[in-house]
């Protein structure tokens, strides 16, 4: 179908091997959509309950995405194509694709992670009552996310955006028999919708800029670029759009939903709440970067402040979690904030931020899937009921270790390169305070990552179940993602030409630079965190019956790092036990309190409204009836039954009429 190209599609580089894939990128979207429909209608009648459609479609989409990306690898330019959707008055809407390097990268990320999750779920969801339905929503979600990614206009983007939201809702509440799960699902949907409303208004404002003629992102940017729109207008629009990011990417102060969203099946957490959907908020800023750049400076400052708070706060929270998925969830918040903060640094930050998005997607998905594997084995989310699993599930252990190290930012794993680049950009843009935030967060990240690994895999198993290694369908994706985690970072390594920057950039390519001291610093921070974690939790695990009698002295000797101890007492413990608890308290009491309180108040107002409706408005209506009835009753007594009273009425009537009306005329 060459309609797209025919109707105004422009390819800048006519001859690359990937051009065909680029021009037909809509197929990537269509594949999972079709598979969703197929699974829905045929799934339960297909052997394997329909998962095969999803896997095949997403697999094809992945291959296709590679093809698209290949175009950019070969140095191809962006492509845009569209068909008419509908027209409403002056407003012309189109269905279109806008494929540039950013899109290509995102396509690969989404399809890759989605493929991994699709395969992984074969094992993880095996025997689930609603297995087929799960795959329907999974495929639908993938289609929605891809829609957002390839969309060339705001409304189409919004459609995909919200469909993702509903899929997220459906998947979080997948096990809706338990009330906590459905609560979490609702909380997720509503909280993100709070952000979506300003986002919608932002979109409307941007459409208004074009005089309500188009929703095309390119044309909106062009219109803004003319400079005829007041900066304040653009600033407000940008801030409104950022609302969408805050919601979807779970940034402060709307981050409360994401940890709860872990109630969903773990593959879902991996796909939606770690790798893709939550990253859409970041993608949004990148897609509409022009708006943010044209806005007043304070807008980006606001963005960076929000990101900084999220990054730090979330990381601290991760420390105190026992639920392994919650650790990862807070970690995700924190990492997303890294990306947002990176984007707030301007054009250089765009590349860096997206590079982090790219790498994070792989290693975080990996981490989640590993966690899932663990949970699958021990039937518990709590790390206090794990321990020592390294022995039972080596593949999971190793892959998770790789993921953890990547998260911690250990060279040469993916996380290292992207974090490093963010630090470099922060440095280059003289955003010292952000630099520090990045660094500190990195340390904490490494720390909790290590804590997680230690509590899960080291020590003795403390649970009730009989842990075992997961089936191939689960470990396969783990291995694949682990490989990716090792590899993808290199795409942005300055030593290797930093090809990523040639795909994803704003207006002009900036060469990534390697600043040795920053690299050293970040690595050191990461190691510091890891070490602290290792030390600490090794010690906690040691508090088993055998080691307890030796007491603190044994520990002290065993580790000999009194500095560590000092760190622990002076920094780690206050941070972990006091500060993070405080943040946790703040989170639960103040933010959840606000949400809950808002719910309570809303409920209360609703009661009031209902009462008002019943009493006052209905009362007025019924009252009118009552008044009419009473009037009738009063008038009724004129009809006394005594005919002489009737005669009195007759004569009084005549006299009165005569007196009144003759006077009127004469």
């Amino acid at each position: 179908m060459n309609v797209l190209a025919a109707e105004g599609g422009v390819a800048f580089e006519a001859t690359t091997n990937g051009i065909w894939f680029v021009e037909h990128a809509w197929i990537v979207v269509l594949l999972p959509l079709v598979s969703a429909a197929l699974i829905l209608f045929l799934g339960s009648r297909t052997p394997g309950k329909g998962a095969v459609y999803g896997i095949a479609a997403v697999g094809a989409a992945f291959v296709f995405s590679i093809g698209v990306l290949w175009h950019f690898v070969e140095g191809g330019g962006p492509f845009e194509g569209s068909i008419d959707w509908f027209t409403i008055g002056p407003l012309h809407l189109e269905l279109g694709i806008l494929v540039d390097g950013l899109t290509g990268v995102m396509l690969v990320v989404v399809t890759a992670v989605s493929l991994a999750v699709h395969v992984y779920s074969l094992g993880y969801m095996h025997g689930d009552e609603r297995f087929t339905w799960f795959y329907v929503v999974l495929s639908l979600f993938t289609a929605a996310m891809l829609t957002v990614v390839v969309s060339n206009n705001l409304i189409q983007l919004l459609v995909g955006w919200e469909v993702m939201g509903i899929c997220s809702y459906l998947l979080i509440g997948h096990w809706w028999e338990v009330k906590e799960n459905s609560d979490a699902a609702i909380k997720a949907f509503i909280t993100t919708r709070v952000g979506d409303v300003p986002f919608m208004f932002g979109i409307i404002a941007l459409i208004a800029v074009t005089g309500f003629t188009t929703t095309n992102i390119g044309e909106v940017s062009h219109e803004l670029g003319l400079g005829e729109v007041s900066p304040l207008f653009v600033s407000v629009a940008a801030l409104l759009l950022f609302g969408g990011t805050v919601g979807k990417s779970a940034q402060f102060p709307l981050h409360v939903w994401l940890p709860d969203a872990m109630a969903g099946p773990t593959p879902v957490s991996a796909l939606i709440h770690a790798a893709t959907m939550v990253a859409a908020g970041v993608y949004l800023i990148g897609r509409l970067f022009e708006v943010f750049l044209l806005a007043d400076e304070w807008v980006l400052t606001v963005v960076s402040i929000v990101a900084a708070i999220t990054a730090l706060g979330a990381a601290l929270l991760a420390i105190v979690q026992d639920d392994i998925k919650r650790v990862l969830a807070y970690s995700t918040l924190s990492q997303l904030a890294y990306m947002v903060a990176g984007l707030s640094l301007g054009e250089l930050g765009l590349t860096a931020g997206f590079f982090h998005l790219f790498t994070h997607a792989f290693f975080k998905a990996l981490l989640f899937l590993c966690a899932g594997s663990v949970i699958h084995a021990v039937h518990s989310n709590n790390m206090s009921e794990m321990g020592g699993l390294r022995k039972y599930m080596p593949i999971t252990f190793w892959t998770m270790l790789i993921g953890s190290l990547a998260l911690a930012g250990i060279i040469p794993l993916a996380g290292f390169w992207s974090k490093d680049e963010l630090l470099v950009v922060a440095h280059e843009e003289h955003a010292t305070w952000l630099f520090v935030v990045f660094l500190v967060t990195a340390v904490i990240t490494a720390f909790y990552t290590m804590r997680m690994v230690m509590l899960t895999f080291f020590g003795e198993y403390e649970g009730e179940a009989h842990p075992h290694e997961s089936p191939r369908t689960m470990t396969g994706p783990l291995v694949a993602l682990a490989a990716a985690t090792i590899g993808v970072g290199l795409l942005g390594a300055p030593q290797l030409n930093a090809v990523f920057g040639k795909w994803v950039f704003f207006e002009e390519i900036h060469e990534a630079v390697f600043v040795p001291w920053i690299a050293l610093l970040s690595t050191a921070g990461a190691l510091l965190g890891l070490a602290a974690g290792y030390v600490l939790y090794r010690e906690r695990k040691a508090r088993d019956p055998l080691q307890a009698p030796i007491g603190p002295v044994w520990n002290l000797l065993q580790h000999r790092y009194y500095i560590d101890e000092f760190y622990m007492r002076a920094i780690v413990r206050p941070v972990r036990d006091t500060w993070s608890a405080g943040v946790n308290w703040f989170n639960q009491v103040v933010f959840d309190g606000i949400v809950d309180g808002a719910a309570v108040v809303t409920r209360w107002v609703a009661q009031l409204v209902a009462w008002f409706d019943r009493t006052v408005i209905d009362g007025a209506v019924n009252g009118a009836g009552e008044v009419a009835g009473r009037t009738g009753n009063a008038l009724r007594y004129l009809q006394s039954g005594n005919v002489q009273w009737y005669a009195v009425g007759l004569f009084v009537g005549v006299i009165a009429l005569a007196v009144v009306f003759i006077r009127v005329v004469v």
Partner: protein, 100 residues
């Protein structure tokens, strides 16, 4: 050789007396009598105007009124007698089964 207003005043007095009688009497036959007074007032008017205007129409009209009045009295008395039969009383202020 009579001045018109004097006659009309007489008529007015008859009429008013009739009005009072209709309102104040409880005996149905007395009420009928009062009504006759009112109709007579009408006739006095008609005859007076006929005399003033030197033509017969008023007198003819009066004759018709007398005839109709006779018919009304007949009807009225029949109803009153019927009333007496069923109620043993012809007090109109006690006739109030139907009301509201």
């Amino acid at each position: 050789m009579i001045r018109l207003p004097l006659v009309l005043m007489f008529s007015a007095l008859l009429f008013s007396a009739g009005v009072y009688g209709v309102l104040a009497r409880r005996n149905a036959i007395m009420v009928l009598m009062a009504i006759e007074l009112m109709l007579n007032a009408v006739n006095v008017n008609l005859v007076a105007f006929a005399a003033l205007l030197q033509q017969m129409t008023g007198q003819v009209f009066a004759l018709f009124v007398i005839a109709v009045a006779a018919a009304e009295v007949g009807i009225g008395l029949a109803i009153v007698i019927l009333l007496f039969r069923t109620r043993e009383s012809i007090n109109v202020d006690e006739v109030n089964l139907l009301k509201w």
